[in-house]
Structures are given as structure tokens and as C-alpha cells.
Amino acid sequence: MAEIRVENVRKAFGEFVAVQDSTFTVADGEFLALLGPSGCGKTTTLRMIAGLELPTSGKILLDGEDVTFNRARDRDIAFVFQLFALYPHMNVRRNIGFPLVAQGVPRAEIRTRVEETARLLQIDHILDKPVSGLAGGDRQRVALGRAIVRRPKCFLMDEPLGTLDTEFRDVMVRELRELHNRIRATTIYVTHDQLEAMAMADRIAVMNHGVIEQFGTPQEIYSRPASLFVADFIGSPSMNFIDFSAGIASGAQSVRIGEAEVGVPQLREDVAPSGLVLGVRPEDVSIDDDAPLRGAVYESEYLGTTQIVAVEFGATLVKARVPATRSFRPGEPVGMRFDAARLSLFRRDGGKAIRTALHDGGAHG
């Protein structure tokens, strides 16, 4: 059990900067998801914490101790690899016991601890099988077993569910979260799947191009995205973006888009006239024939209890998640209303969120 602190860590491979001056802290017992598209630096960050890569600059602290230059084996951390990396020439029992052999744990104790772990993960029936014939889920459990058998300070997981099929993933997501609730070990979990991150993590760090764009709870990340990238990456369908140009004074509670006045959370900063983006989640759009924002239905996608209606609004398509009770024909003129308290405003240039009553904290809020 430990607190992990990453301080100004930067990693460059030649000209390419994989991770740019990242700083964050994972509290003891916390489950952090590092979320981002492939190539964003999340795996590199994880490997630096594990000791498999050396940062170009910056510090990594485990429980306050600087471990930046410690070898992986001296850090007391467990790592679950994307492809599990089960040793193919050993059976399940030896795979799980392998870290204990390194520590010189007596044979009898290895046996009891391996069996204990196997029971916890419900794989005690396959202990003596070779790993090559195992199904994906069992491999996953063996990899987890090898990680927890040591009772390490923390767990690092690199897209451990990436190779499982969707159905099984849901099962494993639940199991992983339950396991975390039971053993309460500090965990960093790398994924590109927002649903996994949302379902499991206590907090999420969203990364893009080597930069942590936002660090916060799943709720904060979803409802108060700190940048255009985060807003776009999280949520399906993703947030609607409406471009407009304006200058707004602090304290304003509405913006003018085309002909219409749209209510927004009260602004907390002055914005000089420039290109801005209004962000609105599909579920915060309601369709109301009397509403001032006029558009025409482009298409609708039926999802059972709800439907996603795409409305042509100026040059953009605004998607609305509305009850499936009413049906829409393409081309039908409709009006839209946005939930004023839940809108986000971004600068077009740089994509940063503008501070409002909703967005008060900034990137690490």
C-alpha cells in the first residue's frame, strides 16, 4: 500500500516527446485510470513508474521515497501486461509463484500463498495446467494472480482487458473493481477505453500528446471537461461543439449564437473577442418546437429507450439524446433548448475551458 507521486516527469525518445512534464499524485488505496488515445504517453508513464523506462527528467516517489533511479525489482510494484506475459514454459502454479521464488520465500509458504491467491481469483482448478491452453479470461486471472501474490505496494496495469472480447470485458471490469475494493491496493490502470475508466476508477487522468489534460473524478471529467480534447474524448456520442465568435465579460450569463441568446453558467473571467466553442452534451439538448435555436432533423438513431437525433444547426450537426417516444422525419424543422447550467465554453485556440460557475477549478479541479 503506497502513495505514488509523479513530479515533473518528462520522457523523450530522441526528438519525440512521449510524456511532457507530468505531475500527479495517486493516494494510498486509490484506483487511477490513465486514459487517452494510443500514442498519448500513458503506457510510457506507467513504464516509468514501474522502472522499465528511465524518465528524461523529473522524479517518481513511492510513499515519499525517491525511486526514480531504482531498478524495477527494488520498487515492490506489480505490473500486469497487456498481453499478460505469462511465462509459456511454466504452468499456472509456477507462473503465480515466480515472484515469490525471487524473494526467497520458503517452498511451503509459496504453495499456500499461491493457493490462497488462486482461490481469491477462482482459478484453483487450473493451477497445474500449462498456461498455453488457457482461455483469455483465465490468462487474465493468472496474470492478476502473479501480481497480487506478492502483496506489492501498488499495481500497475497496462490495458489488461484489451485483448478480451467485449462480453468478457464487462465481467472482468466488475471483477477487477471488486478485487480492488477487497484488497485496496493503490492501482494505476492504463486504458484507451473510456467506459472501463469510468466504471472502475476513483480518479481519471486524461492524456493527449504526452500531456495530462485533466485529472479528476469520472464525474468531474464528464460534466466539467477541462479542454476540448477531454470533452470530445469522453462520452458517446461525444459532446456537441458549436463554434461562435464573441467577447464576453465576467459575470455574463448568456452568449449570443447567431440570432439566439443561449444561457450559460455564469462566467468567472473576461474573454476578449475571439473564436469560442460552446460544448453541450447530447443529453443536455432537448427538442422543443417553440425553442429559439432552429434547425432541421438530419437523421435519428433509435436506441430503445432513447434515440439520438442529429439536427442540422448552421454548419454543424447537433446530436440530442431524447426519449424515444416521438419519431422524427429527416428534414423536419425543430427547435432546440440547451440546459444552461450544464454547458461548457472553450477557447477555439488551444481548446482550454473558460472559467464559469460550472468550471471553477481548472485542469486539476
Binding site: G51, L52, A78, F81, L83, A85, Y87, H89, A102, R150
Partner: protein, 316 residues
């Protein structure tokens, strides 16, 4: 094939398979004929071995093997009559030819030399090869490509092209006609092949295995021995066979650099021809015995050898 029969685009048709089988069998037979001839010659008597037309059916005798393993001398009838009755098969055969066995021949020590030198150099070449291949595969080696090319370039000319410099160098170093000298020489020739072959195999082993071992609390050296080596066995076996075949069969350097105590079997076998007429059965016997170790080694590792040969043909 009728129109409604499902057929695969990948699987060859039955006719193709049959033709292929016939061709393979034919090729196998043709390549086996010389070996079969050597094997049968080893059991012929000297007159049978040079009879014309050649004999397919003959009365087998161990004379070839006896001649291979013993030195004999011709004696007068009176002397032979004065001797006690012959002991053992070889003595009997010698008496019939009016000879007595004087001493064991040098074949057995030469054969042992071959074993020591071939297996010794194979072990060294594979050992050095696997270490350098791992280094090239996993670490950032300065000028790695140039070094690898340099290693490969040692194979670009026939080794015998450097025979004279090596001969002079060995004479200065006192390595001529020593087992150590031959082991070093064959290792030097084979190590480039070993590095290249093994690098390919080790590149295919995912790094995650070692990284997992590093995190599980092992040093890199331990990870190498406990995780990488067990998975490289196929590559190691295939490489070992290639190295062994070269070292075992090598003739030119063996002739040039060994004459006495370190002489290997390949230069020794032809010298049998010179001793008292063309003793083809003895040559056949020597060759047959010479084939045995490589045959055993190859059969033991054939599964790996096949993968070694097809290596690189199928990539993910």
C-alpha cells in the same frame, strides 16, 4: 472436382499432393543412394568392393571395420603357423589374409578429436552467439547495424581464403595441431551464423516476458536464464545443428592445421586409402561411423531443425 464440392484455395488439390509426394520420394531416394552405397561398401570384402560390374548382393564381412580399427602386418606362413589360434573376429580375418594385428589404428583417437572439436566449438559458438544476439536484440548498442554487418561480412568469403594467414598466425601462437586451436577456429567461423540466426529468434520473443521477470524481482541476468533461454530453445537447437554440421564436416582447415595429435576424422579417413592398396571397405566403414553422431544429434533435435529451416518463412 464437381461444381458443388467445396474446395479450399489454400489446400493443394489431391493431384498436386500426389505429384509432390512422388517428387519428394524420388529426391530422397536419389540423395540416399551414395549413403546406401557407402554403407554397403563398409560390409564388403576388398575384392567385392572393386568388382566390375558392381555387386549389389554380396556376402557381408566385418573386414572393413577391422581394417579401420587395426594396423596389421603381413607375415610368412611359417610364422603364422607358429602362432596360437586367432582371438576375436579381426584377428581371424587378418590371418586369412596372411597378416597379424599389430596395434589398434589411429581412427578412434581421430574420431574422439572430431567429437571434442566439433561439439566444443558448437557449444562456444552458440554460447557466444546467444549472448551477443540478446545484446543486439535488447539493448541500444552503438553502431549496432554496422557491427552486425561486420559480423556477417566474415561469412562473405570462403573461410579457406584466409588459410595462409591463419596458418602463419597459428604457427606463431603454437596453436597448430591443437584441439584448442581448432575449436577457436571453428567457433570464429560459426559465431557469425549463430549471432544472426539467434538474433532472429530472440527478436521474436516478446520483451514483456523479461520485463515481467524484472518486475517480479529478478535481475536481468536471472531473467535471461530463467525466461529468455527456455523460450529460445528452438533457435538454440537449430543453430547448434548448423554449427555442428559445419565443424564436423570441415576438411580444408583440418588438413592444413592438424596432422598429429589433434587431427580430426575427415582428414584421417582418406589416409586409409593409401595404406596397402585401395581399401574401400575400410573407408566405407570410417565414413559410416563418422555419420553416426551427426545423425543422432539431428534426429534428436529434428523438430527444432525443421523450425530452424523454415524460420523467417512465416511471420506474423
Amino acid at each position: 472436382m464437381s461444381a458443388n464440392t467445396a474446395h479450399s484455395v489454400v489446400e493443394p488439390s489431391a493431384t498436386t499432393k500426389r505429384v509432390a509426394t512422388v517428387l519428394v520420394v524420388l529426391y530422397a531416394v536419389i540423395t540416399m543412394i551414395p549413403l546406401a552405397w557407402i554403407f554397403s561398401t563398409s560390409f564388403k570384402s576388398p575384392p567385392d568392393s572393386i568388382s566390375y560390374p558392381p555387386k549389389i548382393l554380396f556376402e557381408p564381412t566385418l573386414e572393413g571395420y577391422c581394417n579401420l580399427f587395426t594396423s596389421r602386418s603381413r607375415q610368412t606362413q611359417e610364422y603364422l603357423d607358429s602362432l596360437p589360434p586367432p582371438q576375436g573376429v579381426c584377428e581371424e580375418i587378418a590371418r586369412e589374409r596372411q597378416m597379424v594385428v599389430v596395434s589398434p589404428s589411429k581412427f578412434w583417437p581421430r574420431f574422439l578429436n572430431s567429437l571434442v572439436i566439433a561439439f566444443g566449438s558448437t557449444f562456444l559458438a552458440v554460447f557466444l552467439g546467444v549472448l551477443s544476439a540478446y545484446g543486439f536484440s535488447r539493448f541500444k548498442v552503438p553502431l549496432a547495424d554496422d557491427l552486425l554487418f561486420f559480423i556477417l561480412s566474415t561469412r562473405m568469403m570462403p573461410p579457406i581464403a584466409v588459410a595462409i594467414p591463419i596458418y602463419l598466425m597459428y604457427r606463431e601462437l603454437g596453436l597448430t595441431d591443437t584441439a584448442l586451436g581448432m575449436i577457436l577456429l571453428y567457433t570464429a567461423v560459426n559465431v557469425s551464423l549463430a549471432v544472426w540466426l539467434l538474433k532472429g529468434f530472440i527478436d521474436e520473443i516478446p520483451r514483456e516476458y523479461e520485463e515481467a521477470a524484472l518486475i517480479d524481482g529478478y535481475t536481468r541476468m536471472q531473467a535471461f536464464f530463467k525466461v529468455v533461454l527456455p523460450q529460445a530453445t528452438t533457435g538454440i537447437a537449430a543453430t547448434a545443428i548448423f554449427c555442428l554440421i559445419f565443424a564436423w564436416n570441415e576438411y580444408a582447415f583440418a588438413v592444413l592445421l592438424t596432422s598429429g595429435s589433434a587431427q580430426t576424422a575427415p582428414p584421417f579417413i582418406p589416409t586409409i586409402i593409401g595404406e596397402g592398396g585401395l581399401d574401400w571397405p575400410a573407408v566405407g566403414a570410417g565414413t559410416t561411423i563418422f555419420l553416426v553422431p551427426i545423425l543422432v544429434f539431428t534426429v534428436l533435435l529434428r523438430r527444432h531443425l525443421l523450425r530452424g529451416i523454415t524460420f523467417g518463412a512465416v511471420r506474423k
